[in-house]
Amino acid sequence: MSRSYLPHWMHWLGSPPNFYRFAGAWRPWLMAAALIAGAIGLYGGLVLAPPDYQQGDAYRIIFIHVPSAWMSLFIYATMAVAGLIALVWRVKLAEVIAMECAPTGAAFTFITLVTGSLWGKPMWGTWWTWDARLTSELVLLFLYLGVIGLYNAFEDRRRGARAASLLALVGIVNLPIVHYSVQWWNTLHQGTTVDFLDPARSSIAPSMLWPLLVMALATHLYFFASLLGRTRTGLLSLESGKQWVRALVDGQPERTTGAPT
C-alpha cells in the first residue's frame, strides 16, 4: 500500500501499532525543537526585551501567560475535532488522542489562571476578579476537568471516550466567548494586543512581539510532543490484549531511568 498518497498514509497512521512507532520516532525531535525555541523565546523575553514603560519588568509574565492561554484554547479545539472524529467514525486512535489532550489542556489553563493572577496582583491590585475573560477561562478549566472526570467514570474506555467527546463538543461554545470576551464586554482585562488578521493593528512593540511568538511556537511544539507520548501510553492500555503490545512489553527491559517513552 503506497504511503505517499495522503489518504493512504492517514489510513496507515490510524492503526495503533503504526501510530505508536510513528509517534515514538517524532517525539524526541519535537521536544528538542520545543526546548530550543523555548530557550530562545525566554532569552528574548527575559533578557533582550526592554521593560515596559507602564508595567516595568512585571509584564514579562506575558511570555508564558499569553502562549499558555493560546494553548488552552488550541488544545480544546484539537480535543473537540478529535472527539468529533471519534464520535462520528469511531476511530480508536481519535478516541485516544481526544482523551489525552485533556490533561495537557487543563495544565495550560491552570498555568494561564495562576500566571494571570500573579500578573494581576501587582498591576490591578487584586489576585482575582470576575470579569468576562477570567471567568470564561475558569469555566474552560472546569470543562477540561469535566471531560477528564466523565472519561474516568466509565468502565468501558471506548464508551467513556465517546461520552467525554460529546461533552467536549457541547462545551465548545465557551471558546469564542473566551476569545471575544474582551471585545464584547468592558472588562478589566486588557484588550486584543496581537491581531493576527491585521498585524498593523497590533499594539505591542516588535522587541516584545518576537519572543512572544517564539514562545507560542515552543508551547505548540511541546504540546505535540506531549500528545504523541500520552497517546502512545493510551494506546498501550487500550490495546493491551493485542499481540503487538504483548510483544513490545515482553521484549522491553524494565526501565529504571526517568526517561519517558
Binding site: 519588568d57 508564558i64 498555568i111 500573579l118 500578573w119 492500555s237 503490545v245
Partner: protein
Amino acid sequence: MAHWFAMGGYAMYVWPAFAVFFIVLVWDWFAPALRRRRFTRELRGRLARERTRNTRAARAEAST
C-alpha cells in the same frame, strides 16, 4: 545580574509565575511515564501468570 533577578521590584510575582509554568509542564511530561511503567508491570505479571497456567495445563494434558 542581581538587578536583572530583581525584575524591577516585581521578582516575587515574576519568578513564581515562571516556576509554576515549568513545574506544571514537567509534571505533564513525566506523568504518562509513571502510568506506562505501572501498565507494563501489570501486563508482564498477567502474561507470566498465563504462561505458568498454560505450562501446567500442558503438563496435565501430557501426563493423562
